[in-house]
Symmetry: C2
Subunit: 141 residues, 2 copies
């Protein structure tokens, strides 16, 4: 059970962005250098973040990205949704639900995985970008 780099990078980059938001757009090049993430890879990630209205791009020289919403309104779950990072605990697709109806032993654990999925998703729904930046400032004091 592990978090992918794509998901980790997206949050790292957005946290970086959140620190400089409302001042100037932040270029991917800067984020790439600061966070040690490949520029090309960042572009893929930000393309999705833009399409899902997490960030807004500013083109041209001195361009870059800014958050499209307030940091407190961007939850981790929104970020992961945007880049298709999903929490998956079961293999079963919806069509095969019939085989998980409480009659076979498969169902013995089905409920558990649902619980686990909810448990993790709840964490993502609670945490916002603002929490991250705040937490970092507090710990620095």
């Amino acid at each position: 059970m592990k978090l992918t780099s794509k998901g980790r990078y997206a949050v790292m980059a957005l946290a970086d962005l959140a620190k400089f938001d409302n001042i100037n757009p932040v270029s991917l090049r800067d984020i790439s250098l600061r966070q040690g993430i490949s520029l090309d890879y960042l572009e893929q990630i930000f393309s999705k973040l833009r399409k899902n209205e997490i960030v807004q791009s500013v083109r041209g020289t001195q361009g870059g990205y800014i958050l499209k919403k307030k940091a407190k309104d961007i939850k981790l779950t929104n970020i992961f949704d945007a880049i298709d990072e999903k929490v998956k605990t079961v293999q079963c697709k919806k069509e095969s639900k019939k085989s998980c109806n409480g009659k076979s032993t498969k169902c013995l654990t089905h409920n558990l995985w649902d619980e686990l999925e909810n448990h993790i998703n709840n964490f993502f729904k609670e945490k916002s970008l603002e929490d991250l930046v705040k937490d970092n400032i507090e710990r620095r004091i």
Copy 2:
């Protein structure tokens, strides 16, 4: 972020086992058929479960496996530990901790991933095999 089949299978198989425990050993062949898991793959998994004293093997005809501890004393975390299924949210190894000391922006999210890891592990520490079987019986009524 997803659970691997190995982890899912291990729990499914042990839940299956827990239902029949204290009566007769359960053969991997039976589990394989009931749960739809490759027999060879199950053998790999049970080899580790045995070495980690989660189960005990009974050889010979009518042999199979039984739980080595009481179902309520086997937590999911014990199972995952046994088969090397770990929750990993960060890439950083211990040596590179220097680069995560609160001075670089990397740390902005480091704390978050630790929280997430704990959040998930807590779930695994709380749930026992007994919970699974119990829950299943209750829902059936």
